[in-house]
Amino acid sequence: MEHDLSPEANELRDTVRAFLERRSPEASVREVIESGISVDPEVWRQMAGQLGLQGLLVPESLGGQGTTFSEMSVVLEELGRALLPGPFVSSAVLAATALLAAGEDPLARELLGGIATGETVAAVVFARGLTGEPDESTVVATPSDGGWELRGRVRTVLDGGCAGTLLVVAPAGEGLGLFAAEAGADGVEVVPLQTLDLTREAARVEFAGTPARRIGGDFTDGEQTVLAAGAAAMAAEAAGATQRVLELAVEYAGVREQFGRPIGSFQAVKHLCADIFAIAESATAVARHAARAIATGDGSVEAASLAKAYTSEKCVDAAEMAAQVFGGIGFTWEHPVHLYLRRITAAAQYFGTAGHHRTRLGELIGLAVAAV
């Protein structure tokens, strides 16, 4: 029982952990990675059908669970912990948040229903904010035949290779719009990228006059909401992953012997473990704080930036320290620590680096930079 979570969230965490330990142990994760499929379809179906996870944020009236981001965050910790491969964050968190932020729209309702059942797999194509590169996206939407069409390319789309529906954030005349396009439609080119994180694929996507349907009105505020959700989701996953590397490192330090004693009896190793522990607990606390802020709508942008500023730097430190505890064995392909290092390091990059979020926090707390 963790006292900063509701009884329901505690129960959800136990259920998801037990499910993933049974259905997606490390060996299964490795099978998904080696086979090049981005998700185990049976696990995906059961997550939606038995546990309702893809529909956590979807209202009950649309077939979802109608829970808050606090419950979602606990699930994300577990996915990070279990290294679950697949488009869960893209579809169940980012796409669902985008559709809910876009406002009342029949197409949004339909897509949300599909996301909740797991049949619709959606990815969000960001105009900016995922990688922070100046030329992240050149996509623009223009009216065409009573609908819209998309032109331009996006350098990085998370889960762009396995999503059936692309939710594209793009300038549309004045302001920003959210558009739905089929990934298999004419004029969509999806080029897979080589990703550091083997459990989360990404693609470059090019639109050449792709037909799209607009969802809702101006998406300027919606974009901020989704980016905050993305930052908080990465923080929660990194926190869960860090908790697991801590457990692995402590377990190993207790049994691995050198100089006739367990290496965990040496202060140098103890101190590494203590530092990883401090980071794992801090990351968990701050990720849950961000999730509560998103759930209540109170200070969500600041809280998400705080969580990402911390986890993007410190969880990477923790994963590196854990790798150090493992010594040579941690440098082998067979050992899981590199899978965590990959996931945590990649998550640190998406939705804003630590430096990006510190700059943002500096602005939010009113610290001006001197004019040069």
């Binding site: 203590a274 607990e281 430096g355 930079v369």
Partner: protein
């Protein structure tokens, strides 16, 4: 009226005249005057039993009182070692006669210190060698203590002595309550790196202490002292709130400087802000655990660890924000605070010892 409203009304009435008299950075005499004022309203340790001068509040309400005090910027308690450390130990282990100290600890008429560290017993506190030998109904003490906080101004000391040199080191220690005007005690101030003297060396030569001043059973001084440390663990919630407030004060000061900050310096300050907020959310997590179980969770050990590191970094950032004027100027405050902060990873258990304890007790790594 709720307890919190009562405290708020008390502070609204008492703080403005106090500030008018003593300013924002009151000297020790000012803080002692404030402690007397506070205790007139029984607010110094409201979680203590009423018969000892408290209000018998539950831990959660008492923490809410602390939070309000932190928020109001009220001065820190002058006789803090008696109130925070010695008093709770006496309350748990003391005889009725010994408990008569408690109201006097709260109103500041008795100042206490703790005679723990020795020249040869710093991190290895249980290796202490100050001896006490039973002679009739007295204990005769010989030895030396060092780094005794408030040692020069205190009236009494909770003294750890070795009473059984044959026993394993944790089992041969006793705790004594010693009036510091007892013949054979000599005190000398330790001039520290700031130039001030907040600690003392205390020498004991054939000091005769009545056996009735033994706190808890003979040879159980280690357990007596350690169980109290357990009681004080909820204090991390207040500690977290205080350091977060210190960070916010530095941010406010930097914001007020209208010329804007060097980008690297701003990043350094935002790092402190992030670290302060992290301790804040860990404090909230502790509070949730205390509300549910009466005890903080494992995060309390992290708050202590991170607090010690952040208070140093914060002092260094404050110095950096002061620029050249902070190292050569009219106000030595930032420089003094920087030097003083060097003790925060040493006093009360070094960072390294805290990590060892955390690794062994919380993570279960072998000794």
């Amino acid at each position: 009226m709720s307890v919190i409203d009562e405290l708020r009304a008390f502070l609204d009435e008492q703080l403005p005249p106090f500030r008018e008299r003593w300013g924002d950075q009151p000297p020790f005499e000012g803080r002692l005057a404030w402690q007397r004022t506070m205790q007139a309203g029984r607010w110094v340790a409201p979680q203590w039993a009423e018969e000892h001068g408290g209000r018998g509040l539950d831990v959660v309400t008492a923490l809410a009182c602390s939070a309000l005090l932190t928020e109001s910027g009220a001065p820190a308690t002058a006789g803090i070692f008696g109130v925070a450390n010695v008093g709770p130990t006496i309350a748990q282990w003391g005889t009725p006669e010994q408990r008569e100290h408690l109201p006097r600890i709260l109103d500041g008429s008795e100042l206490w210190c703790q005679g723990f560290s020795e020249p040869g017993a710093g991190s290895d506190l249980a290796g202490l060698r100050t001896r006490a030998v039973v002679e009739g109904d007295e204990l005769v003490v010989n030895g030396q203590k060092i780094w005794t906080s408030d040692g020069m101004r205190a009236h009494f000391m909770q003294l750890l002595v070795r009473t059984d040199p044959e026993a394993p080191k944790h089992r041969g220690i006793s705790a004594l309550l010693v009036p510091l005007d007892t013949p054979g005690i000599e005190r000398r101030p330790i001039r520290q790196i700031t130039g001030e003297a907040e600690f003392a060396e205390v020498f004991f030569t054939d000091v005769r202490v009545p056996l009735r001043n033994l706190l808890g059973p003979l040879h159980k001084g280690w357990q007596v002292t350690m169980t109290t440390l357990g009681h004080e663990r909820s204090g991390v919630v207040t500690q977290a709130a205080i350091i977060q407030r210190q960070v916010e004060q530095l941010v406010s000061a930097a914001r007020a400087a209208d010329s804007g900050l060097d980008p690297l310096l701003r990043d350094e300050l935002v790092r402190r802000y992030v670290e302060g907020r992290i301790i804040g959310v860990l404090g909230e997590r502790s509070l949730a655990s205390i509300k549910a179980t009466g005890q903080p969770g494992a995060e309390q050990s992290i708050i202590k660890l991170e607090w010690s590191r952040l208070s140093q970094r914060l002092a260094r950032t404050r110095l950096a924000l002061g620029g050249a004027g902070a190292v050569a100027g009219d106000d030595p405050g930032a420089a003094q605070a920087y030097l003083r902060s060097r003790s925060s990873t040493i006093a009360g258990g070094t960072t390294e010892i805290m990590k060892n304890i955390l690794a062994q007790r919380v993570l279960g790594l072998p000794a």
